[in-house]
Symmetry: C2
């Protein structure tokens, strides 16, 4: 039997990130300034992001050099191992090969530091002293805390209060890495005080936390804001995943027929899939699937239009599949997939027919995750379980059709800090949830009055 | 700069375990049967352990072949990476090299599966259908649950009730891997019922849980018991750690001056150190340090004598450093180091002057762990922090003496399921604790009436 896992030496870490924007057969619609209705200028972003990242957000270049300092930190856990899922293949009696890229080996346990480290580096290089951000369950906040520590930057995380209180583990990770993590809403920002005046016991929301983080960044010249998904430069940084996977498969003479990732904001999916989409655009026969929850079916059911990235309508308008900026997703355990929109680049790829979105109920995703944990050992994050549900579905169908397809998927993170979710599933406390049709009507309504695409 | 981490291909996983018993300059004292006062025969162990493991426990052979099936499972995470701790070196301004062997990359996150997988294999080969064990904080129980799942064995874990209720995460891991984990004391064993009759709300103890697990194993012919540390065959299985580390250092042309591990029962320390002790016995100049807590200072302060492995006096008498089988350690956060005795092989090595034991207070171990987490990224287990405290101490002293010693230590596991301990430290809730001298007098008293060594 071939090796169970494929490592490559550190010299095989890609030295450039890949930008799919250079290869789309038709270009993406631009973001729009909500005031002028025109594409924002780089200066419009200046109070929020450092200019070197704004340039990356807008670059048409196919390849962007990865700075030496970022590569140095990547080497803490990259290249991540590519595994042959022989246990899962056996459990499914699958005649083909199933591979997964294990992004759970990073210090915070997910793919998030691929961009957190890059963003911390560019902020530092621009002279920024402090980065603010928001976090829900804490995946992004912990990754940014780790990254800021590596570059000696202060890190201020506004964590949704209900998560701060109920999910202490990632908060403790942030503190261990020296970040200042506070329950949002706080009384230190205008946005927070406004909410607290209405409801002193507010449980908080991602929308409020974003507003607090942006407000603090805009007010101080030495401070900028950081976002963990959705934007072009975030997806760019994540491309190391797919670039490495390609090299690793090449080293053993294989190539995928199907590429799968779970998608919340879209960054881990894009990170694995985009370097393969480049081949698909060039003519390669390859099936790319993005797995999302039925409770937050942005791509499978949400309309495509211009919408705000946050509840409080402070961001530029982004062209994306969206359930509306006022959408409140059900409290499923895959916190990283509870976002109303989808990265503009992923949305565009879906519209061009390059990516097939599929939605899965959380019950079947945990079923898939338990199967994976029992046959492959490693316990996946609840988000990752959506990708695994898709893998199992694809493998079963291929087997029925007598095809031995090679499947590759992104194991975006481990579930060791999310075990309470497994407990809820194992003790029968989870229920099925399909988003009602009224919610789609509400989403369409939320987009009324906003510019249309095209 | 050299690579941050050293991987080797799966073909470099050792194919034999190393047994230090073949190389001790003077042989270890044998265990004794508490009834006869004589060394127990293999048959005495038969109701508890499968005979193939009993043979391994007693073997004088230097090398023992690792079965193919065990190697197949090891490949899920072995060889584990050897890291150059460049961040820590920089933080300490240390002129030498510091390496750590990252055993935290296994599915349960520690070194424990090295022996759990081997024990599950031998039980399966012997025809056993079910394995029982006890667990405190859950490190061992979760490793055995994972291993049993790989070989299709039932796994019954008696988890100390207070941990079952207060530390749910590893319990959920066990359930995810299909194990039956129950809070001990239970009403399903004589030992458990006896305790419950006296105290229906008993919080349980490791001693009670061991008694329940052994009772259930002895009563059923298809069931055996498994122990996660202390015994010879457990230390044998862990030798893969040191054997791999040697090959990895050899690949980059280095060799340690100092080897360090933390020691509770002794298995992770022995796993790294014993293959290097072989070289020391052969004349190599190498300093080997075992780090233990000041609250449970078995080697640094406990007498050396024959003692029981469990509170209820059901095991054979083992020749070891011990604080007495009735010792109740303080509730420090390094649950894996709260054991009254020390593996007979490690105790013997200490007595021969091959190993220097040092004790560290939990405050300084968490200080060391936070330093590590901030400069190396990965968050260590509270047990591992003891080894890190020793590393920092040794590095500082070497630097003062103008020596650039090469230090190697065992990073026995990650702390992602132990973050509550970091929270306690960061919020100033931990206190210093030195074991009072009366406790040593009590230990000596506990050994009175038991056979003496030599």
């Amino acid at each position: 039997m071939a090796d169970k896992k494929i490592f490559l030496g550190e010299e095989f870490i890609p030295t450039q990130w890949y930008n799919l924007n250079a290869d789309f057969p038709t270009p993406m619609p631009p973001p729009l300034h909500p005031g002028t209705g025109k594409p924002p200028s780089p200066e419009d972003f200046a109070p929020i992001f450092p200019m070197n990242l704004v340039e990356q957000e807008m670059t048409p270049a196919r390849w962007v050099d990865i700075p030496e300092e970022v590569l140095g930190i990547y080497k803490m856990w990259r290249p991540t191992p590519l595994y042959r899922a022989t246990g899962l293949e056996k459990a499914l009696d699958y005649p083909g090969a199933i591979y997964f890229k294990n992004e759970g080996v990073s210090p915070p346990g997910s793919h998030k530091p691929n961009t957190a480290v890059a963003q911390a580096y560019y902020n530092k290089a621009f002279g920024v002293k402090r980065i603010t951000t928001e976090t829900g369950a804490g995946q992004w906040g912990s990754a940014l805390a780790f990254a800021c520590q590596q570059f000696g930057l202060e890190c201020k995380v506004f964590m949704v209060r209900v998560s701060f209180e109920q999910k202490p583990y990632r908060r403790i990770m942030m503190m261990t890495w020296g970040a200042d993590c506070v329950p949002s809403p706080t009384d230190t920002t205008e946005a927070g005080r406004k909410i607290l005046a209405q409801d002193p016991d507010s449980p908080g929301s991602l929308g409020i936390a974003i507003s607090e983080a942006i407000e603090m960044a805009v007010l101080r010249d030495d401070t900028r804001y950081s976002l963990g998904s959705v934007l072009n430069h975030v997806l760019l940084h994540q491309s190391v995943i797919g670039l490495e996977a390609k090299k690793q498969l090449e080293a053993i003479g294989d190539y995928p027929d199907v590429v799968i990732g779970c998608a919340g904001g879209g960054s881990n999916f894009a990170g694995l899939a985009f370097p393969f989409l480049a081949d698909k655009i060039a003519g390669k026969d390859i099936h790319v699937i993005a797995a999302e929850p039925t409770s937050c079916p942005t791509m499978t059911r949400g309309p495509y239009g211009y919408d705000f990235g946050d509840t409080n309508q402070t961001t530029p308008l982004l062209p994306m599949h969206t359930l509306g900026h006022d959408f409140v997703p059900a409290p499923i355990h895959a916190g990283g997939l509870r976002y109303h929109g989808m990265a503009p680049m992923v949305s565009h790829a879906v519209n061009l027919g390059l990516v097939e979105p599929r939605a899965y109920d959380q019950i079947e995703t945990f079923e898939a995750g338990i199967t994976f944990a029992r046959y492959e050992g490693f316990i996946p994050a609840p988000e990752t379980n959506h990708a695994i549900a898709a893998v199992i579905q694809v493998a079963k169908q291929a087997k029925e059709e007598g095809k031995a397809k090679t499947i590759l998927f992104n194991w975006s993170g481990h579930g060791l800090v999310d075990l309470a979710a497994y407990d809820a599933y194992l003790s029968g406390k989870l229920t099925r949830y399909e988003l009602p049709e009224e919610e789609i009507q509400r989403a369409l309504k939320a987009l009324e009055g906003l510019p249309k695409i095209g």
